[in-house]
Structures are given as C-alpha cells and as structure tokens.
C-alpha cells in the first residue's frame, strides 16, 4: 500500500446519503448526509454503536437498499437509477456478501452454495464447479464440499460464505459483522483469512464491525455516530496512537 491517496481508484462513492425509516412523527433518520469514498484494494471497517446507522450505510453501499436522498455510486454507476434487474446484475457481478449469520442456502451443499452465484452470472456449470472447488480449497474446505451447512461448524460455514462471496470475482466484498457469531479463536481465523484475501488477491473488503481484532488489520476505519460520518481513521494514525500509548 505505497500508493498515495490521490492516485487510488475509487470503487464506491456516496454523496449526501440520507435514509429515513418510517414517516411523519415516527420517522427515524438512520443516515443523515454521509459522503465518503472507498478505494479499490483497501480493507475498510465501518464502526459505530448499534443504532448509529452503521448497518444502514452498509446496506446502501451493497445495493441492498436505496437511499431517500443523495446517491451511491458503485464503479461509477448510480445505484438509485438502476432497475431491479440491473441491481440484481450488480449484486451478482460486482459485490460479494458475508453475513453475521452466515446465510448459506440450507438445502444445498457447500459446493452448490458457491456455484450458485456463478450460475446466476451465466457461467457454464462445469467451469462454475471447478472454480467453486478452487475457492473452497482456498478457504481450507476442499475436503468438505459435499456437506450441507447444517453439517458444518460456524467457522466452516463462514468460510463457505467467504468462498461464495468471491465466486464472481467481485470488485468489493461486504462483510457484516463476520465474526459476530463466532468464538474468539474462530473469529481470528476468519479475520486472518479475509486479510490474506485482501493482501494476496487484492479484494476490496468493507466490513461493519465492533470487533477490535478486525480494526487492527484495517487500512481505514469509518466511525459512524448518529447517522453521520464522525471520523475517518487511517492505519498510520492508529499505529502512531498505539506507539505513543506504549
């Protein structure tokens, strides 16, 4: 990561994003004008207390929800302008998702779970299966490809989910509290795996988290407070802080 900020490619940009839930008196502004840029190849953490709008911002960036005002650009495409079909295409090709609760398709095997997004993308079945095996091997589950999620441990399920998120070689991988449902050791393994994918394969990783181990490996940290971007911390600042404290 020697390149300066100025020459880095922007993969996601949000401009004055406002998201409101409910109407009239009961309306809640989950996001209140968030403007930010996310660069290709970085490992970004979004942090904030629950109810801060962290998950909402995450959903906006991932094309899972549309903003009420402002715009979200992914690869310079404005998400709000897309038809449902185009949005499905974007989710399929450009974004990979990892969830706190794993969210694998319970009725399909690990291999089928990883293959599915590729079939949606129109990849021939043989090719899709081959790549799925490759990805499962990459996350260390090559030998358990024929097991269904209910036959795998939490950590293994999350590994399958990570393999699945990489299926269509997305521009960004969104991880919503990926270690939230795992014990410390397994959580650490998942973090290491994500960090490796980030540095070895150049995958852009955006994660919502309050796991401090996760923050330690992040290039940048967005702090969200009351629906606004309160602070952006870079890795250099963090290290400096750690050093001065020590």
């Amino acid at each position: 990561m020697s390149s300066t900020v100025a020459e880095r490619e922007v993969v996601v940009r949000t401009v004055d994003v406002v998201k409101q839930y409910g109407e009239g008196e009961a309306a809640v502004r989950a996001l209140n004008g968030v403007t930010c840029e996310i660069y290709t190849g970085e490992y970004l953490s979004i942090m904030g207390p629950s109810g801060s709008g962290k998950s909402t911002l995450f959903n906006m960036v991932g094309g899972l929800d549309k903003p009420n005002e402002g715009s979200v650009f992914v690869n310079s495409v404005d998400i709000a302008q897309l038809t449902p079909r185009e949005l499905a295409f974007l989710r399929c090709h450009t974004i990979g998702y990892i969830f706190q609760t794993f969210n694998l398709i319970t009725v399909r095997t690990a291999l089928e779970n990883v293959t599915l997004p590729m079939l949606f993308a129109g990849t021939p079945p043989d090719e899709a299966e081959e790549k799925a095996m490759e990805l499962l091997t990459l996350v260390g589950l090559g030998h358990r490809y024929h097991h269904r999620p209910s036959e795998l441990s939490g950590g293994q399920q999350q590994r399958v989910a990570i393999a699945r998120s990489l299926a269509n070689s997305p521009s960004i991988v969104l991880a919503d509290e990926p270690t939230g449902n795992l014990d410390l050791k397994t959580g650490q393994e998942i973090i290491d795996l994500l960090r490796h994918l980030n540095s070895d394969r150049g995958v852009t990783i955006i994660s919502a988290t309050h796991d401090h181990k996760m923050l330690d490996v992040s290039d940048r940290i967005f702090h969200i407070r009351d629906g606004q971007l309160a602070k952006v911390e870079t890795r250099a600042e963090q290290d400096a802080l750690a050093n001065s404290a020590a």
Partner: protein
Amino acid sequence: MKQTTFKNVDPPFWVAWNQAKASIRVRFFRQMITTAGIALGIAFFCSMQTIRVAGGPTVQSEDQLRWLVGTSLVMCLVGVTNSMLMSVTERFREIGTIKCLGASDGFIVKVFFLEALLLGVGGSATGAILGTGLMSFVQSNQGGHVTLLGSFLTALMGTVIGVVMTVCAAVAPAIQAAKMPAAAALRMDI
C-alpha cells in the same frame, strides 16, 4: 474507474428446477406436512362433491348439498392458503440471501412456482383420489349410484382446484418478497 456493463442473463431452467427439488428433498418432513394439509382439504371437498353427484338416499336436499360443497371448498381454500403462506414467509431470509447472490426477482418466483406446483400436484391428486374413492365406496354401499366418469370428473376438478390454489397461495407472497429490497427481506425474522 471500471465501468459496469449490464447484459441480462438468466440462469438456465434447471437451476431453478434443482433448487425447487432440493428444497422439497431436504425439508421433506416439513413439506410433507404442507402437502398433507393440501391433500386433506381436497379430500374433504372431493368427498362432499361425490355425495352430491352420487344422488343416493341422503337426508339432505340438493340445496343443502350445494351448501356443504361450498363450505368444504372455502375450508380447504383457507387451509391450503394458510399452509403455503407459512411455508413461504418462513423463508423470507432465504429469499433475501438469494437476492444478494444476484438472483433476479423472476428466478425467485420461478423457484417457488415450481415447488408449489410439485407439492400441489402431489397433494391434490392424493387427496382427490382418496376423497373421491372412499366416498364413492361408501355411497355405493348405501345404495347411491356413482359412475366411473362422475368420480373421475370429481377427482379431476379437485386436483385442478387444489393445484391452482396451491400455486396462487405460494406465488403471491413470493412475488411480494422478491420485490422487496434485499435488506428488508433479510431483516424479516419469523
């Protein structure tokens, strides 16, 4: 900045077909209860209809019989709709997940349509044959007259009504879920 181009590809039919089959196979017990609900409703309707066409020495008048058939139809409509609605709504999260993987709304509806079609045909045919067969037997023993064509038509009617109801009751909530923003579908917890 990389530019995204949108070309529309839908996965081949067998992807949806396999997903529907897997969903029935893996959740077999749950799905069989749903199917039993459909079968019982249709069996009830078919047996009432058989009494009506048998014209045996029943105590009821034609009007009363019509009323019975009508009520049984409403009952089985509510029963089938209830079991299908439940089986779709408890899977909203799965729908949200599949949306995240890049499935089009059409694909999601297609999976639920196929699944309901399989369950509907299986359940309705079983129920229709059971209901019509048993009641034809009972009616014949009591001096009624049930023609083969009559019971065939009754069973056919029951099957068609059952399949249409099952598919409608599954596809309507599936369309609703498929149209939701993915985040909203994922939030649904039942």
